[in-house]
Amino acid sequence: MTGAGEQRTSAGWFFEGARQAVSGPAWIVGLSLASVGGLAHDVGLSASNAVLSTLLVWAGPAQLIFFTAIATGVAPFAIALAVTLASVRFVPMVVSLLPLIRGSRTSLATQIFAAHFVAVTVWVETMRRAPGVPREQRMAFYFGLASGCILTAAGMTLVGYEAARMLPTALAAALLFITPIYFIAASMRGAREAMDWVALGFGLTLAPFVETLVGGGLDLLVTGLIAGLAAYAARLAQRARRRA
């Protein structure tokens, strides 16, 4: 990895990122979006709009909310609110990712462009892989990884759309469950300290209960804050114990 790796140009790191994407993570998000494409077909959206939703929205849960809302005729404001509340995660995801990949001279426009490509797979894999990439090449590596994921996913959205008629419900359900399993397993794999385990465990188990207690779509925010604060408390406790 060292020797040749240090000689790599930005283009080289871009393609290395893309290569790493298509040799695994891109298919995780791709298979999930095949199922989303199938749903787009079922609610009567055109194939091009289904693919555009992957390229422009690039958030599985938000796409699911939007397509389901089309089918059930939800009021526009309610759709936008539901999407916003479900996508709040992007704020801490972007805040925690950018300091890891940007250089001292990365422009604001580049950072916003980079933020558009953040999704669960891209986030998990970049947080895990970027530390092994030379600092000044991380943005190129990230864009390669993200492009590999989003282009594969856009193609798979179309495949899922076209295959919707043949796709049995069991398979469509199985496809939708790939990202949840992947997220849990990849997060356990990447867990570095007690904090990560607490965030994961609390977030997973609290969400269903908070959902029944807190209305108005605010439940995810409440779950995130409780689990996030508990996780940080675990970090402080672990440090205090080490110091003692």
Binding site: V57, P61, A80, S87, F90, V91, V95, M195, L204, A207
Partner: protein
Amino acid sequence: MSVGWLVDPAVAPLAAMLILAAAPNLILRVVGVLLSRGIDEQSEALAFVRGLALALLAGVVGKLIANPPGALAATTTTGRIGAILIAVAAFFLARRSIFAALLAGEATLIASLALR
């Protein structure tokens, strides 16, 4: 003159998608970019935000298991929880393999549908 048709998925699906789904996402991402300014890779602030992001993502998955969208609604709660537990078990049994977790979890979910 009303501009309501712009956000009516039945009339203008692409415009509605851009305004109701793409725009809120973009705004939240830009908020993230602005809030990230001045945050250092090694800082405690970053550690806290990383935990928050992980907690929110876990929350999304927890909600998905409790209230499944789309085709996932055809599965049972027991099937979904069972699939996650088996996936976690497989992860550790196969020396922390993500692939093993995916395989075992998916097999469990499909089996739960077949046995229903």
